[in-house]
Each structure stands twice: as C-alpha cells, then as structure tokens.
C-alpha cells in the first residue's frame, strides 16, 4: 500500500512534466492542424541552452524562462517560414509531418555534432525532500508541479477571459470563419506558436532538471509520452492534455512499481495506440473535432 501511494506521488511529478509538454504540443496542433515532431528536438535544444546558462551560474528557474523564450522564437520562425508556406501550397499533412520529423533529425544531429554524445547534467538540483501523506517528493519536483498548475491556470484565464485568447480559440476551431470575423489569423498562429514554443522550451529544461542526466536524444525520447498524453486528452484541447499528462505519468510509475520496469515506456505507447484505435478524439475532444482526424 505504501508503495502504491509513493508511486502515485511519483506519477504526479512525472505527469506534471509530461503535461507541460503535452499542452504546448496540443496548442500547436489546435491552431495549425500539424503534428509537430520537431517539438522533441526543440526540447533537447532547450535542455542544452539551459546547460550553457546554468554552467555560467544562472538560476535554474530563470534559465527555464529564458530557454522558453528562445525556443518560442525558433518555433514561430519555423512555423512561419517552413510549415505555413508548405500548407499554403497544399502539401499533404503526412508530407508535412515527414518534414517535421526530418527537421527534428537535423536539429538533433547538429546538437550532437556540436555538443558531443556525452551525458550532461545540471548537477543535483533536487533540493530538500518533502514527505507528505506518504508521498516523497524533492523540492524541484514540487516546484515543477506548482509551475505546471500555475501555467495551466494562466493559460485557462488567457483563453477564456481575454480577447486574444478567444481569438486564438476561434482560429483553432474554424480558421476561415475566424478570418471572416476580422481576426488576423496569421497573427494568432504566431502568438500560439510563440506560447507553445515557450512551453516546449520550459519543458526541455524541466526535463533536464528532473532526470539529472541527459544527452542529445532526450527530447525525442520524451516526445512519445507527451504525444500520448496530448492524444489521450484530445489533441487541440489544452486541458485534456493536462489530464492526459497526469494519466500517462501515473500509468508509467505504476507499471514500474508493480511489474517489469522495462515496461515503463511500453505503457505510454500502449495508451497512445489504444486511444487512436478506440476513440481518436481523446477524452475531451469534441465530436465535431474528429472530422479533422478522419481521412
């Protein structure tokens, strides 16, 4: 029983990081209808930028914010100058995915060529350990959970209470209609990609903090659980992505606690496949949204 509660605690911490990434991914899909696989390599980029800064004494949390900004800018540029033009020409979604995969591969190998294959680390960023209600978490893990919650709340407020947010949502659900309402949809795309890019970068740094050791493949490896979470919650649905992240995190930790630890990762994969086969729109995807998913 003790192990169960502990595992739930770990699942929460792991889920928070996954949720962070999944929300960004989901936003990007929502507004541009693209599965952006480059997201993974961008997280790796953020982790390495973070390493660069932390080695020079910058506070880890400030690094998170800075890396987020950099990746956000890169994401906007990527979308504006490579993905959007391709979409305008009528390139098929599959081809665009291949482009994002290739871009991811290129970025990953450039990072490898520059930084080398060695394992990197931010050092011990854990901080104090807290024991609450049978759950053991390090200070950094608690901080990330808090960060995730705060960001989600902020996002929620943005999307529902501000005009900007409403415009973003409108563009997400029906671009053409939004355009005819006078919304500058291109600007909405830019804003969304900037925000989600920031989340991507922040997640990359958060990952590096929690894993204590990473190398050039870290982004690609963690992309899959994040996609699983996003799909589970319903792509295009940021709140769904949060719930999805939690679910995936919990499932992985429980699997590791009670069965062969090597199946940790299989759990995320299995969830993804199951969702795609049974209910592609995810838990919270609206029924009409499935139109986008079907051939």
């Amino acid at each position: 029983m003790e192990l169960l509660i502990e595992a739930i605690g770990f699942g929460l911490a792991a889920g928070a990081v996954i949720a962070l990434g999944a929300v960004g991914f989901s936003l990007q899909f929502g507004i541009s209808n693209i599965l952006n696989i480059t997201y993974g390599s961008l997280m790796t980029l953020a982790a390495y930028i973070g390493l660069f800064l932390i080695d020079r004494g910058v506070n880890p949390w400030a690094t998170l914010a800075i890396a987020g900004v950099i990746v956000g800018l890169v994401s906007v540029a990527f979308q504006r100058w490579l993905l959007a033009p391709l979409a305008r020409r009528g390139t098929r979604p599959f081809a665009i995915v291949i482009v994002t995969v290739s871009a991811g591969v290129i970025l990953q190998y450039v990072i490898l060529a520059v930084a080398g294959p060695e394992t990197q680390s931010y050092g011990d960023q854990g901080g104090q350990t807290f024991h609450l209600l049978g759950v053991t978490l390090a200070a950094s893990q608690v901080a990330i959970v808090v960060l995730a919650v705060v960001l989600m709340l902020a996002l929620h407020l943005l999307l529902t209470q501000t005009t900007l947010g409403q415009a973003m949502r409108a563009t997400s659900s029906n671009r053409i209609l939004a355009q005819s309402c006078g919304i500058d949809t291109d600007r909405m795309s830019d804003v969304t990609w900037l925000l989600s890019g920031w989340l991507c970068g922040a997640t990359g740094v958060a990952l590096a903090i929690t894993t204590a050791g990473f190398d050039f493949s870290i982004g690609q490896v963690f992309l899959i659980p994040m996609i699983a979470a996003a799909v589970l919650g319903g792509v295009g649905q940021p709140y769904g992505a949060m719930v999805g992240g939690l679910a995936v995190g919990l499932a992985s930790e429980l699997a590791a606690a009670y069965s062969n630890p090597a199946y940790r990762e299989v759990v995320a994969f299995a969830i993804l496949i199951a969702v795609l086969l049974i209910r592609p729109r995810g838990l919270f995807g609206a029924a009409w949204a499935t139109r986008r998913l079907m051939a």
Binding site: E6, A13, T119, G123, T211, A212, G213, A256, P261
Partner: protein, 432 residues
C-alpha cells in the same frame, strides 16, 4: 505497363547496379603483400551510444605502435592504427568491417571487437584469417574453435561472479542487483546470481531497468524497501545519474555502497555521477570490479609512459592505468608483433601459429615485458616468454586467458586505484 525493351533496360541497369554495389561491399581481398607499412585494425565503436569506448580502445593501439615504431618497426615495417567503426550495433558493423578487410592494405592484426558487436565481427575477422585479440566478454566465446581468435579479458559470467565475491568479502551479504537491459549486463547476471548463494549471500531484489528513463523513483522505492547492504549495479552514465539522484531524494540523502564493473571507469560515468551525488560518494563508496594487473611491473611502466608521451592519449592515461581490456589489447599487439618476427612473416595465416609460442613458459626462455626487449632477444636467437601488463597469459583450448580480478576505487581525478584482489581460480570456481 512497360514495354519489353524498357523492362529489359531496367533489369540491365539493376544488374550493373548490383555488380557495382557488390564490388563495394565484397570485393576481393588480395593476399597482403609484405612491402610497405602494416595496418593494425581497431574495431570499436566510434559513433553511436557506445562511442566513448572507441577512444579508450584506440589508446593501447597508439601506445603500442609508438613503441614498436620507435624500436624500428616489425622487421623494418612501420605499423599504424586504422580505426574501423563498428557503430556499437552488430548489424551495422558488418558493412564497415567487410569494407575495411577488403580495402586496408597489409591488414594482419586487429584488436577491439567488443561485446556489442563481437557476435558478427568476430566471425568476419576470423574468416579473413586475420589474427586478433578481442576485448569482448561474451559467454558464447568461452568455448570456441576459432583459429585466429585470442582473448585476454574474462568472460562476463566470471565478472559477475567476481562482483559477488567482492561484495561478500566486504561484508555485504544482502545485495540489491539492478542492471540495465544491455548486452554486457545481461552477460554478468548468471554468474552473479549463481555465485551469491554459494558464498552465503542473499539477493534482496533483482531488477532490470530500461535505459535513459526520466525517473526511476518507483524502482528506487522498491529497492529501498528491501534494505540492501549494497547495490550491485551496471548501467550507462545517464541512467546511473538519474537513478542515483532519485535514490538520494527518496532515502534522505543516504546512498548504498555500489559495486560495479570497471567498464564504468569512463570519464563520462565519472563526470555524470559526480555532478549528481558529489565527489565524496564517488571516491569512497563505489567499487569497480574487473581485471587485475600489477601496477609496479616494468611492463606496466613502459605502457603507462607510452600513453603519457603521446599527446593523443596523454589525458586519458590515468584512467587507462586501471582498466583491464585496453591493457590486454596492448599486450595482444606486442604478442602478435613478436609472433610475426618469430615466423619471419607478416602474413596472418602464417604467423598465427606462433602467437601461443610467444607466451609459453619454457626453461631458458628470456622473460620480456615489452616489444623492444622481445625483438632484441629474438634477434639474438633466444626463445622468449612475454609477460606483459596483465601478467602471464595462460590461454586455454579456446584461446581465452582469464587472469586475476581486482576491485578498485575512484580517485578525485577520475582515475582509479586498486584496493583488493581475487585470484582467478577462486572466482571461476563460483561459476560451477
């Protein structure tokens, strides 16, 4: 529907493509001529996840060839190291090794062929009649009848038993075994699990973990619950860093003693783990078990001096001073070179038979510990007995020489110092 003509044309093009491709991949390997410099192949990973081993295995080649060339070469042939990337993947290694065999001139010596790829590279090199000293530990080669194969590293199962031997000797009777699911670790496991009970020890828990996960908290919790005396461990640097970090958090900063293989004596491992758990733990509480060799012999000193002298190997010389496999490779190169002199030829298929003679103890033989001395003795018509860095090699019927085992601890600079030994026979007995 293509017309008959165009279909034929395509077939023709295919045929040409085939011949071109085949020539690239399997062209004729001519009998090596005996003129010109000799090539020593270092078959190791230079790319991919195991790339750090490429550097470590190149070093003994550099040291040995420096010494050999300084002494005048092998029968006036200079010798140079040729890096052959085996990528760390058994299937991908094959095209690279095949091409190297076909295109490298005077290729009659090889070292490397480590555990990740030995399964495919060993048969290839053996089939090409190139004598080689391999550094793999795979149990499948414990018994073999490959003519050109020689090994001076112990099998992984023996290594596993050595872990158990050391752990119990240190008083750790209740151990947690956590291994990553990779080739080397899986090889260690049978030896370890059979030796533990024979020594009166207990296995508290045994887990196999996947590599590079974001968190091992659940696994760590399971291990902590069994209250082990020590942790017998084998995993790559990244996995180790994450696991130990989780352990520290969950166990109030208290970490168990770790017993791992000297394979972990890499700069990457040392840096990653030190960053996460601090230098104190790393230098006091980690034991590295592996091959033993006497660091006071002249043979060792010559080896170390050569490493320090060359700028390419200067900075990893301290680390290499305590790791067995590269030292074995160095000895192997010397042995092969001396065998060439004995056989008065550099052709692999001919001098191979003399390799075992070089290390054979016999009355009246001159004991030599390095190439230069051996060369002089042979020139004077004497019989020699090579006793190198790893001591006196004793090859069994399968050309394996196990040697002694030792345990070392890290020093603050990433090198290691030996703190205890375990005789070979004692460990092998535990395998039963």
């Amino acid at each position: 529907m293509g017309t008959r003509r165009s279909r034929f044309g395509t077939l023709l093009a295919l045929g040409v493509a085939f011949v071109v491709a085949a020539c690239g991949g399997g062209g004729g390997s001519t009998v090596p001529t005996q003129t010109g410099p000799l090539s020593l192949g270092v078959i190791a990973p230079f790319t991919g996840p195991a790339a750090q081993f490429g550097k470590l295995l190149s070093a003994p080649c550099v040291a040995a060839t420096d010494l050999i060339n300084q002494a005048g070469g092998i029968m006036s042939h200079q010798i140079s190291c040729v890096s052959i990337d085996d990528t760390g993947d058994a299937a991908d290694a094959v095209p690279n090794v095949t091409r190297a065999i076909a295109t490298t001139s005077n290729f009659d010596m090889a070292i490397g062929l480590e555990s990740n790829t030995a399964a495919t590279t060993v048969p290839l090199v053996n089939g090409a009649k190139i004598p080689f000293f391999t550094t793999n530990g795979l149990t499948q080669f414990n018994k073999n009848n490959l003519q050109y194969y020689h090994r001076m590293t112990p099998g992984d199962d023996a290594n596993g038993a050595a872990f158990a031997d050391w752990a119990v000797k240190q008083g750790f009777k209740n151990v947690a075994i956590v291994f990553q699911n990779n080739i080397g670790s899986e090889g260690n496991l049978p030896g370890l699990t059979s030796a533990m009970p024979k020594l009166g020890g207990k296995i508290a828990i045994q887990l196999t973990i996947p590599a590079d996960s974001a968190s091992y908290s659940a696994e760590v919790a399971r291990v902590i619950a069994t209250k082990p005396d020590a942790l017998i461990w084998s995993a790559d640097p990244q996995t180790t860093a994450t696991f130990m970090s989780n352990y520290k958090q969950l166990n109030n900063g208290v970490l168990p003693t770790m017993v791992t293989a000297t394979d972990s004596l890499t700069p990457d491992f040392f840096k990653a783990v030190t960053r996460v758990v601090g230098i104190n733990y790393v230098t006091n509480n980690i034991f590295l078990v592996g091959s033993y060799f006497d660091q006071t012999t002249p043979a060792f000193n010559t080896y170390k001096a050569a490493l320090l002298a060359d700028s390419k190997t200067h900075d990893i010389a301290p680390v290499l001073s305590t790791v067995g496999p590269p030292a074995g490779a160095y000895d192997g190169i010397n042995i092969m070179a001396l065998a060439m002199i004995m056989a008065k030829t550099t052709v692999g298929s001919v001098y191979n038979a003399d390799i075992l003679k070089v290390v054979q103890p016999s009355a009246g033989a001159v004991v030599v510990g390095n190439y230069a001395d051996g060369m002089k003795a042979l020139a004077a018509g004497k019989t020699i007995q090579y006793v190198g860095v790893l001591g006196q090699p004793i090859f069994d019927a399968s050309h394996n020489s196990g040697g002694q085992f030792s345990a070392s601890k890290f020093n603050a600079d990433g090198s290691a110092t030996q703190v205890g030994t375990m005789p070979g026979p004692e460990v092998l007995q535990l395998l039963g």
